[in-house]
Symmetry: C2
C-alpha cells in the first residue's frame, strides 16, 4: 500500500517553480499554501531567486538537505525530469507534477511520462499527476493547488480526473457552503491512482464520504472490492457511456473504453453510487456533507400547493421510492390542527393560505409518524406565504428530528430569504421537486443490503482440476460438446443428452436412448443463429420423421457448403421457457511503449449474465449482469431485475422452477471460481419447466488467464 499519509498530511512542502511573478502557477500555489495556514516547513525552489515572500528560496530540491514530505512541481514539462533525476526517497517522499505536456498530448508525451514515472518508482518516490491541479488537505490546513477558491473544511473527500471539473466543483462548494476534508486532482494517473486514495480515505476518520469524477478506472474491480469492504458512501461520476463520448475521451486523455454495463454492475455490487450528471454529483455532496441517515424509501410530502404535490408524487414513484401511508393517528392529528379543506393524506396539503405555523404543526405530526422515513417540505409563493418564517420552521423541525427533511421552494426572487436560512442551517434545499427526489433516490440506493454471504458448493476442487486438466490447459474452443457436458454435470447443471450422428443407423440408436419427440440440429462453428437458417428440426415424433429430418438437414449442409458439420439429436423439450446464462471474462489491457509492455488497466474479471434466452435475446436485451464472485443476494437480485422473472413467477398462469434456476446461477459462479481459465461460457437456451432445468445449447471458450 502506498504511503498516502505523507502526501496528504505532509510536515514539509517544497514548491518548485515558486516565482516572484504573481501570475506564475508556482507562485499561485505558494500563495495558496501560505494563505491556507499550513504550519509545516515551506521551501520555495527557484534558482533565480534568493527569497520569495520572506521565505528562503533554494536553487534545487537537493539543496534543501532535509527529507521533504511533498514536492510540488510547477515548471514546464521539459525541465521536470532533470529536476527530479538525482532524488532518492530520503530526499523527497512524494512528488506532485502540476505541469501538463505528458500522455494527454500524444505519443511523445506518453514517453516522457513513462520515463518520469519509471524513474520515480525505482527511487521509491510516489508521483501524483502529471497534468493536475494539486491537492487540498483540511487536516493540515493545506491548499497546494492553483485554484483560487476559498475552501471550507468539511468531511467530503473529492477526487477528480478533470482539473476543470474539480475547480468548477470547488467554486460551487464555495457558493453552497459544502466543505472538503481533501481534494485531489489526480491528473494522468501515471503512478498514484484513484484506488490508492480510496483505500486511504476509507481509513481516514476525517472523511465521511468519498466522491470521484473518473474518466477511466485503473482497476475497476479493485474499486468495487473496496466499496464492498466499507460502509462509507462512495459516489462515482464516470462518463463515456456513448461511443461519441468514448471518442472525445480518447482525444483529450489516453483513456480506455470500458463496457458500460460492466461498470454499472460493478458499481452496484460494490455499493457505490454512480451518478450521471454534474448536478446530481454536487447535490449529493451537499447531502452527504450534512449527513443524516435515510431510514428508508417512504416519503411524506407537505405542501401549500396541490399541483406541485401531485408532480412530486409522480417523481417519487418514478424513482422507485414510496409515498408513505400516514397512520390513522397522524391523519386525525392533522385534521384537528389544519383547516377542514386541507388534505390530511399524503401529500399533505396545508393549503395556499398557509403561514409558517401551519407548516410547523404539519411537519411535527408527519415527522412523528413511524411510517415516514423522509419529508419533502414544498412551498410555492402565494399571497399569504411567509417564506423566511416557514424556512425557519423547517430548519427547526430538521434540527429536532433524526429524519431527513428536504425543503423545495418553487418560484422566483422572493425565495432568497428562505434559502439564506437553509444555508445558515447547513441544510440542502432545492428549487424543483424532481431534483430533490432524484437525490433521495440516490441516498436510498446507498442504504446497503445486508447479507454479504457467498454461496458455497461442497467443492472437491482437486479432483475436478485433474479430471478437466486437459480441457483447461489449452486455448479451447468447443465444438464437440461432450467434454463441456461432462464439466457441467460435474457442477450439477443438467444438460440434455446429446447424440452426434452421421447416418440413419446412428439416428435410430439415438432415438432408442432418448425419448421421442426429438430435435435434430445442424452444428457448425459458423452457424450462430441456427433457427434463422432453418437448421433445427423440432418435434420429431417417429422414425419416418427422423429420417425426413436427417435427409433435409444433410441437404441443407451441402447447400450451405459447410464442411465437417455435425448432426446433433436431443430430446425435444416442450413448453419450456428459454433463458440464457452466460459468462465472459473482462481481461486486463496492456500496451507497448518503447518496447515495454505496460499495464493500462486491470480487467473486471468474469461477468455473469442472466436473462431471457432464445431467439430474441439480442433484440430485447432483458438481461442482468454481475461480477463473479456473486453473493446470494446477487442471485436473487439478478433474477428480479429481469422481466422474464415475471413469467417464471407465474405471470402467465404457469410457474417455473425458480429454485433450480438459482442453483444453476450459483453453480456457474462456482465453476468459474474453480476454473478461471474459462474465458466465455454461454448456455442459450437454458430450458426451464415447472420442474427442472436443462442446458440445451452450450458454447465455451478457454483462454489462459494472465491476471
Amino acid at each position: 500500500m502506498k504511503d498516502i499519509h505523507s502526501l496528504l498530511y505532509p510536515k514539509s512542502i517544497a514548491i518548485v517553480g515558486a516565482s516572484r511573478d504573481r501570475d506564475k502557477l508556482g507562485r499561485i500555489i505558494l500563495d495558496n499554501v501560505l494563505k491556507s495556514g499550513f504550519r509545516g516547513a515551506i521551501y520555495p525552489v527557484n534558482p533565480k531567486a534568493k527569497r520569495i515572500k520572506n521565505l528562503v528560496c533554494y536553487p534545487d530540491l537537493l539543496e534543501i538537505k532535509k527529507t521533504i514530505d511533498l514536492a510540488v512541481i510547477a515548471i514546464p514539462a521539459a525541465f521536470v525530469f532533470d529536476t527530479v533525476k538525482d532524488l532518492t526517497a530520503s530526499d523527497v517522499k512524494n512528488v506532485i507534477v502540476i505541469s501538463a505536456g505528458y500522455s494527454e498530448i500524444g505519443q511523445d508525451g506518453m514517453m516522457s511520462e513513462l520515463k518520469l514515472c519509471t524513474l520515480l518508482q525505482e527511487r521509491g518516490i510516489s508521483l501524483l499527476g502529471p497534468n493536475c491541479l494539486g491537492i487540498i488537505s483540511a487536516g493540515v490546513n493545506l491548499n497546494a493547488t492553483f485554484a483560487k477558491n476559498a475552501i471550507r473544511d468539511g468531511n467530503i473527500a473529492f477526487l477528480s480526473q478533470s482539473g476543470a471539473l474539480g475547480s468548477a466543483a470547488l467554486g460551487w462548494a464555495e457558493e453552497t457552503g459544502v466543505g472538503f476534508s481533501h481534494f485531489v486532482s489526480i491528473g494522468n494517473k501515471a503512478d498514484l491512482s484513484e484506488n490508492d486514495f480510496v483505500k486511504f480515505f476509507i481509513s481516514d476518520e476525517s472523511v465521511k464520504a468519498i466522491f470521484m469524477y473518473l474518466e477511466d478506472f485503473v482497476d475497476g474491480r479493485g474499486l468495487m472490492e473496496l466499496g464492498q469492504k466499507t460502509g462509507k458512501p462512495i459516489v462515482v461520476m464516470k462518463p463515456g457511456i456513448s461511443e461519441e463520448a468514448q471518442k472525445a475521451l480518447g482525444s483529450h486523455t489516453g483513456s480506455l473504453a470500458q463496457d458500460d454495463l460492466i461498470v454499472s454492475a460493478a458499481m452496484k455490487q460494490g455499493g457505490i453510487i454512480r451518478v450521471d450528471t454534474i448536478e446530481n454529483m454536487l447535490n449529493l455532496m451537499q447531502m452527504f456533507s450534512f449527513p443524516k441517515q435515510l431510514k428508508g424509501p417512504r416519503i411524506a410530502i407537505v405542501t401549500n400547493a396541490g399541483g406541485p404535490g401531485v408532480i412530486t408524487t409522480d417523481s417519487v414513484i418514478q424513482e422507485g421510492l414510496e409515498i408513505a401511508a400516514l397512520s390513522q393517528k397522524t391523519q386525525q392529528a392533522l385534521a384537528l390542527n389544519l383547516p377542514s379543506s386541507a388534505s390530511v393524506h399524503n401529500p399533505v396539503d396545508v393549503l395556499g393560505d398557509a403561514r409558517a405555523d401551519r407548516y410547523e404543526v404539519a411537519l411535527k405530526k408527519v415527522l412523528n409518524d413511524q411510517g415516514v422515513d423522509c419529508v419533502l417540505a414544498i412551498l410555492t409563493t402565494q399571497v399569504m406565504t411567509q417564506v423566511k418564517e416557514t424556512a425557519e420552521v423547517i430548519a427547526k423541525a430538521a434540527r429536532s428530528s433524526r429524519k431527513i427533511i428536504i425543503p423545495v421552494f418553487i418560484g422566483g426572487k422572493g425565495l432568497e430569504s428562505g434559502f439564506k436560512v437553509f444555508r445558515e442551517n447547513n441544510m440542502s434545499f432545492f428549487r424543483y421537486p424532481h431534483d430533490a427526489v432524484d437525490i433521495i433516490a440516490f441516498l436510498n440506493e446507498h442504504t446497503k443490503e445486508e447479507g454479504h454471504e457467498q454461496h458455497k458448493l461442497k467443492s472437491t476442487l482437486k479432483a475436478k482440476k485433474e479430471k478437466f486438466s486437459k480441457m483447461m490447459s489449452n486455448n479451447y474452443e468447443v465444438s464437440d460438446l461432450v467434454d463441456v457436458e461432462r464439466l457441467l454435470r460435474e457442477y450439477e447443471i443438467p444438460t440434455l443428452d446429446s447424440f452426434f450422428i452421421q447416418d440413419i443407423a446412428g439416428a435410430r440408436k439415438a432415438a432408442k436412448n432418448l425419448k421421442y419427440p426429438l430435435v435434430m440440429k445442424l452444428i457448425h462453428p459458423e452457424l450462430l443463429h441456427k433457427t434463422d437458417v432453418n437448421a433445427v428440426r423440432l418435434n420429431i415424433r417417429n422414425e419416418s420423421e427422423l429420417e425426413e429430418a436427417l435427409v433435409s438437414l444433410e441437404k441443407l449442409g451441402l447447400k450451405m457448403g459447410l464442411s465437417h458439420y455435425k448432426l446433433q439429436v436431443q430430446h425435444f423439450v416442450k413448453e419450456a421457457v428459454e433463458l440464457i446464462v452466460g459468462v465472459k471474462r473482462d481481461d486486463a489491457q496492456y500496451m507497448e511503449i518503447g518496447g515495454k509492455r505496460i499495464l493500462r488497466k486491470q480487467g473486471f474479471g468474469h461477468t455473469l449474465l442472466f436473462g431471457m434466452g432464445g431467439i430474441y435475446t439480442e433484440i430485447y436485451k432483458d438481461v442482468s449482469l454481475r461480477i463473479v464472485p456473486i453473493l446470494e443476494r446477487d442471485v436473487v437480485g439478478m433474477i428480479a431485475q429481469t422481466k422474464i422473472n415475471q413469467v417464471l413467477k407465474g405471470a402467465r398462469g404457469q410457474k417455473y422452477d425458480l429454485k433450480a434456476v438459482k442453483k444453476i446461477i450459483r453453480n456457474i459462479n462456482q465453476l468459474i471460481l474453480d476454473f478461471p481459465q474459462i474465458y466465455e461460457l454461454d448456455i442459450n437456451p437454458l430450458f426451464v419447466k415447472e420442474s427442472g432445468v436443462w442446458a440445451a445449447d452450450v458454447k465455451m471458450v478457454v483462454k489462459k488467464y494472465s491476471k
Copy 2:
C-alpha cells in the same frame, strides 16, 4: 366558439369584492388592475363603500347600467350565485369567479358549481373558474389576478390549472425576465376550459408559444387536433402518471384518471411537447420567449474543459441528438487559430487557459459550419478564465447568428457576472450541461415532420355498412369468429381459414380443406391465455395426431369444467414472427349530479396498438400506440418505435413482409373509421413471414358509440 376576445381584451372591468381593506383579495385585484395600467373602464362593486381608490363604487353589477366585458368576482362562494343570478349577457359578457369552495371541496361544492355554471350558460355569459387566480393580458395592460408579481410583457401564453404553480411560475419569470402575452388561471374549468383558450391563442398574433399546466383534459383529442392544425409550439405539463399521483389528484380536484400512454401518444401526434418536470417547463418558456428556430439535431460543443465536454457528449447522445461532424474546413480553421494541443474535433476543447478571444474565434468558425445546427458554449472557471468577457463574446456571437447558442457556465459565485450579461441579452443559460441538452431535445422534438397526408382506401362504405349491419348494430362480443373473419377479409386482412369441429368426422373434413400441419385450439370466452393451460396443439401432421389432439382437448375441456367450448382447427404457420395489432376505444365519461348526466371529459376515441405479439406481449410491452385516424408517417413511426421492428427488418438474418404489415395497419385504421361502433379489436398473434401476414387469433367487441 366562445368569445374569448372580450374576456382577454376587455374594454371594461368590474371587480366584485373590491374593498377598503388592503388585504382582501378583491382589493388586491383592484390594486393590480390599477397598477398594471389598464385603460378601460374600472368599476369596483361593494355595497358597503361609496368610493375606493378614488373610483366610484357600485352596490351591485346591475347598478353599473352598462355592458361590462368582464366581471371579476372575489367574494365568499356562498354569496356568488346571488350576485350573478339576475344578470344577462347584455349586462356582463364574462365572469371570472376567483372564489374557492366549489367542486374542489366535494359533493356540495360540485352542486353549487353546477348550479352557477348552468345559470350563466343559460344567460350566454362565459365563466372562468371558479377557484382561480384570474387573468393577465399584456395587450390591454391588464393584471386581473391577486398575484403580486411584476409581470413583463412578452409572447408566451401560459395557462395553469394549479393556481399555486401559476404564481410560482410568475415569480420565476420575474427573476429570469421571461414575459407573457397572457396568463390564465383556469381553476375548476366549470365552463371555459383549456381548448377554448388554445383556439384563441392560436389565432392571436401576440402569442408565439402556448404553455399549459393541466391536471386533466376536458377534451384531449380536441387538443391534439388543435395541435395538428397550428405551427405554434404548444407545451403541456400533465402529471398524474402514477397511481399514487392519480389518487392525490382526486383528493385536491375532481380530476379524472386518463391512461397515460394514450395521453403521450395524443400529444406526440398533435406535435405537442409534453414536459415532465417544472424545471423543463420553465426552461422551455425561456427558450421560446427569445425564439430562434432550431435547425436540426446536430450539436457542436465548445468548451474550456475536457471532462464536461465528454459529459455533455454523453447527454447529447442519450437524448437522441447528434454530435455534429465538423467539416475539414472548419477543423483547419480551428487548428490555425487555436493552440496546438486544443481539440479541433467536436467537442472543441479551447483548453483551460482560454480567454474570451479564444472562445470568440472558436464560436465563429463552428457557427459557420453548415453541419452544425446549434452550439453549446461550456465554461468552467479556471485560473485564466474571463467570465464576463467570455459571456459578452457568446452574446455577440448569438446576436450575429441565426443558430441557437446556449451557454453552460459551471461552477460557483464567480459566474454571476456572466449570467448578468446573458439576462441583459435575453439569452437562456444553464448551470449544468444536462439541463441544456434536455431543452434542446425538447426543441428538436417540436421540429415537426411534414406530410400530414392520410392514407385512403378505396372505400365502398355503403355496401360494407349493409353487409355488416347486423353485426354492427348490437353490442356484440365475438366468440364465433366467422363473422369477424368476413369483416377482416373485406378489409384485405388475411385470416387463417378456420374450421370449428365437434367430432373426428369434422376434424377430418377440416384436414381435407386445410393443409397439414394443423393446429387445434380449445376456444372458450374464459380462456384468455390458451397456451398457459395447454389448450393449443401445435404441428399436427397426420390423421392419427389429429385424433390424439381431439381426444386430449376434449378431456381438457371436461377437466376444466368448461361448457359450450369449441374446437378450432387451422393451418399451422411455422417460423413466423408473432405481432399484435389492436384497437380500443377511449369513450367519454359522464357523471350523475342531482339526477343530471354531466359530461366530465371527452374520450380520445380509438387508439391503435402495434407491437410484439404472442405469449410475451404483456411481459415485454414492446408496443406503440396512436390515435385513430393515423397518417402515413404514423404507420412508419409506430413500427419504427418498437424493437420487434429490428427483427422484421432482418436483424436475425431473415427479413419479413413489412409492406404487408403496414397495409394491415392502414386497413385496420380504415375499418375503424368506417365502423366506429367497434369498441375493441385484438389480433394476436398476427403472423408475418417472409411473404405474407395472417391474423391467427382475433377478438372483437362492438359497443354503441355515444360521442
